[in-house]
């Protein structure tokens, strides 16, 4: 009898305890969010505070360049100044977060500029997460001459970009390209360098000979390019600082083109045509240690190193049409990675090492696309009459390329696009331009 009573009591206790026990097991309310939105993050860059009268103009200009850099990525949306509720008047005064929340500012950049009597400029800034009411990272300060105000602005923008997105910036960088003039059938070209946004254009060669495909060294101080000044294509090395140049030490009767620096800055890989056959060669930039990498009867060209220097991607028509292949840095068996319909060319390895950008021609149109290094997950980012020659930004987020408009009066221009395929933009240049190559971030 006692046994029955005890069991009944146990059952009753268990029933009473059931909901509470279940609740305790579940603990706090749990929800999982798997869907969000992708849209530009609203930010504000009020005019930087000029700490002395001489810095007034620089303060305004630097703030504009910073805002332009960030908005140009397509990842951010600038809130116009006329929407501001409050102004920043003192770099050290607290931020009125409520004023910035009211206009939906999610990132706020405050800065100050001072100009010394010795011609030195000092720029300092801070970034705030407005809704978290917290500063993103520590404040930072850059110093330089007044003539370098644009570089300092780009550096500020790089730091802001990095703190918000978590990846490196690309604003403090340069682009070497072929500047063109003259009609299409009698076009003249010369090498030029500019800031990534098209400012500060400077010419490296005159227009007496056709020049093609300039490529920066990993440190950005030298440029490899192909010139027709001897009547046939020949690879030259040019020092950007002194404009001194010399031809690569290759047999004079050989045609050399499509050069690329290796990640060590010492090795050069290029294409050499001899007896009607083009193959890939590797040698030191001083002309030593020449090594033939391919020996197929087909045309092998457009080589590029992987960021770790262990592999080379190139284009070849050994299968009957232009396709992309990857091989070891010392040659040997190559693996075809392109598998879609159409012709693939001009492969370029991403600085991150995970993607390869390329030009694709299919169905009468040209595309810029990206694929994994094994050829999977191919994505076409652009489509036009003629898109070609991709180059990666230093952080591997943006691709710049050449687009030519259709017709006899077609003009070549530089464009950039995010690797998602969004934010297609034309790069501002003084005239027609092509064959761009992005430098690494400047030191």
């Amino acid at each position: 009898m006692n046994m029955i009573k005890a069991l009944t009591l146990l059952a009753a206790c268990a029933i009473i305890a059931q909901p509470a026990y279940a609740q305790q097991r579940s603990g706090p309310l749990r929800i999982e969010i798997t869907e969000g939105v992708i849209e530009p993050l609203p930010f504000a860059v009020p005019e930087f505070i000029a700490e002395n009268p001489a810095a007034q103009e620089f303060a305004a200009n630097i703030a504009r360049v910073v805002a332009s850099d960030l908005a140009g990525t397509g990842l951010f949306r600038e809130i116009p100044e006329d929407a501001f509720i409050s102004r920043l008047t003192d770099f050290a005064s607290p931020v009125q977060y409520s004023d910035w929340k009211a206009i939906n500012t999610q990132a706020l950049v405050s800065g100050a500029v001072s100009a010394g009597s010795d011609g030195r400029l000092t720029v300092k800034f801070r970034v705030f997460d407005v809704f978290a009411e917290a500063q993103l990272g520590d404040g930072l300060q850059f110093g330089g001459s007044t003539s370098s105000w644009r570089r300092m602005a780009h550096k500020v923008a790089d730091a802001v970009y990095s703190r918000i997105t978590g990846e490196g910036g690309y604003f403090d960088s340069r682009v070497v390209f072929v500047a063109q003039n003259g009609p299409k059938d009698e076009r003249r070209s010369r090498l030029a360098v500019m800031d990534y946004d098209g400012a500060n254009v400077q010419y490296l060669t005159d227009d007496s000979a056709i020049v093609l495909a300039p490529r920066f060294s990993p440190t950005g101080d030298r440029v490899l390019y192909t010139s027709y000044e001897s009547g046939f294509p020949q690879v030259f090395v040019l020092d950007v600082g002194t404009v001194q140049r010399r031809a690569m030490d290759v047999a004079a009767e050989a045609m050399t083109f499509a050069p690329r620096f290796g990640p060590d800055g010492r090795t050069v890989v290029f294409s050499l045509t001899e007896g009607g056959n083009s193959d890939l060669y590797k040698m030191d930039v001083d002309g030593s240690s020449a090594q033939r990498l391919t020996s197929a009867p087909s045309i092998e060209t457009a080589p590029d190193f992987s960021p770790d220097g262990s592999q080379i991607v190139f284009e070849s028509d050994r299968s009957g049409s232009q396709q992309l292949y990857v091989m070891g840095v010392n040659g040997g068996d190559a693996t075809r990675i392109s598998s879609g319909q159409g012709r693939y060319s001009a492969p370029v390895w991403s600085p991150r090492g995970d993607l390869i950008a390329f030009t694709k021609q299919a169905n009468g149109r040209f595309h810029i696309g990206v694929m994994r290094i094994d050829g999977s997950e191919e994505r076409l980012l652009t489509a036009s009459f003629l898109d070609e020659g991709p180059t990666w930004s230093p952080n591997g987020r943006v691709i710049m390329f050449t687009r030519e408009s259709q017709g006899t009066s077609g003009v070549q221009s530089l464009y950039s696009v995010d690797i998602t395929g969004r934010n297609l933009r034309k790069v501002t240049t003084e005239g027609p331009a092509s064959d761009a190559t992005w430098s690494p971030l400047l030191n």
């Binding site: 006692n2 005890a6 146990l10 206790c13 268990a14 009473i16 509470a20 609740q23 305790q24 603990g27 706090p28 309310l29 749990r30 929800i31 999982e32 969010i33 798997t34 969000g36 939105v37 992708i38 849209e39 530009p40 993050l41 951010f76 607290p94 009125q96 977060y97 409520s98 009211a102 300092k124 809704f131 978290a132 009411e133 500063q135 404040g139 930072l140 300060q141 850059f142 330089g144 370098s148 570089r151 300092m152 550096k155 997105t165 978590g166 340069r174 400077q202 010419y203 490296l204 060669t205 005159d206 950007v240 002194t242 696309g369 980012l381 652009t382 489509a383 696009v417 395929g421 969004r422």
Partner: protein, 367 residues
């Protein structure tokens, strides 16, 4: 008989010929007439021909050359000498020596300057700002950001809105005053969700009519496995029952003290909260590493439904930096959309006083 036969033949032949001449043209296709070149001619008499061939005077009358009139020379004009002027000395420039050919000619181009040096230091004075006097999280408007030219990628696609349309969760037309109505209701502007697309469409592709993704059917539930307990040595029955009752009572008392009370949130209430937070979870500026990071945050809520504290509970990502970026995005989402309070049932506050939110961006990576 033979005569008659010949007469018949002749008669039929002649009749056929006459018939052919009369109506044979009907069976022939009329061909195009051959081109005929015609030239107009006219007859001339001998006098007319002689008049035509006679030399005619030129229609242009010669102009009489004007007579050259010598100008009157002034009296003091110098006499003109027949002698030639003296030879003017001319000098030739000094011969320029031929420059020696440069074996390595330099390009006559602009020498570009190296990028200016910029030093990076810690700022002189960068004291953190003093406590912000504004402590209210709520902005004046709890509506999501207004539509921009930039495309928005969201789970639910929405068409482009008219310029005067307000952004809201639901579509509603603009109301106008009704003169015949008994009572006047305040005008309301038209509302519609912000323009959005379900996936990124590049220049090279067209939006697909296919659904953005298909969910894999769930796997068949596994059969519950019953673990066979090892036989334990038998204990005295009385003690075992007492222990069990004591354990259940202790468990009940502990659970009652810590667990929320009242009815749990319905699935609809949970979904509403999930959608609210999703609308503000913006991954547009996140790095690819951050898009591979799942963060779990604990949110403490006020009775008004506003977040009062947000803490990172755990994360699963490739780097610490990616975790920071992912947490920042999650925190912004919770604060922005909860600034005016999430719509949660107040009578179930104990259920949502603490909410554990898991932000998993896996599905967003494929967009």
């Amino acid at each position: 008989m033979q005569l008659q036969t010949g007469t018949y033949i002749s008669g039929v032949a002649h009749g056929g010929l006459i018939f052919w001449v009369l109506v044979g043209g009907l069976f022939l296709r009329a061909g195009d007439p051959l081109p005929v070149q015609t030239t107009d001619v006219s007859l001339l008499t001998g006098e007319e021909f002689a008049a035509l061939t006679a030399p005619q005077p030129s229609p242009i009358q010669p102009v009489q050359e004007p007579a050259v009139v010598q100008p009157d020379l002034p009296q003091d004009s110098p006499a003109i000498s027949a002698q030639t002027d003296e030879t003017v000395e001319t000098s030739t420039p000094d011969a320029v020596a031929e420059p020696e050919k440069d074996p390595n000619p330099q390009q006559p181009t602009i020498v570009p300057q190296q990028p200016d040096e910029v030093t990076e230091t810690a700022p002189d004075v960068l004291a953190p700002p003093v406590q912000d006097i504004a402590t209210d999280l709520a902005p004046p408007s709890d509506a999501p950001p207004k539509a921009t030219a930039a495309p928005r990628i969201a789970p639910t696609p929405a068409p482009e809105t008219a310029p005067d349309t307000e952004i809201a969760d639901t579509v509603s037309p603009q109301t106008a005053p009704d003169q015949n109505a008994d009572s006047q209701v305040a005008d309301k502007p038209a509302t519609a969700p912000q323009q959005a697309a379900p996936e990124i469409v590049t220049e090279a592709e067209k939006p697909s009519a296919a659904p953005p993704r298909s969910l894999r059917p769930p796997s068949r539930p596994k059969k519950p496995t019953v673990a066979l307990a090892k036989p334990q040595p038998a204990a005295p029955k009385e003690n075992a029952i007492n222990d069990a009752v004591a354990a259940v009572v202790a468990e009940t008392s502990t659970a009652t003290a810590a667990a929320p009370s009242g009815p749990p949130l319905t699935a609809g209430e949970k979904d509403a909260l999930r959608v609210s937070v999703s609308n503000c979870w913006n991954l547009g500026s996140s790095s690819s590493e951050a898009l591979s990071t799942t963060v779990v945050v604990m949110v403490d809520m006020s009775r008004e439904g506003r977040p009062t504290a947000i803490k990172l509970q755990s994360s699963d990502g490739p780097s610490e930096n990616a975790t920071r970026i992912a947490f920042d995005a999650a925190r912004r989402a919770v604060i922005r959309c909860g600034a005016s309070g999430y719509k949660l049932p107040s009578d179930k506050y104990s259920q949502w006083q603490n909410i554990e939110m898991t932000f998993n961006p896996e599905r967003m990576r494929i967009k």
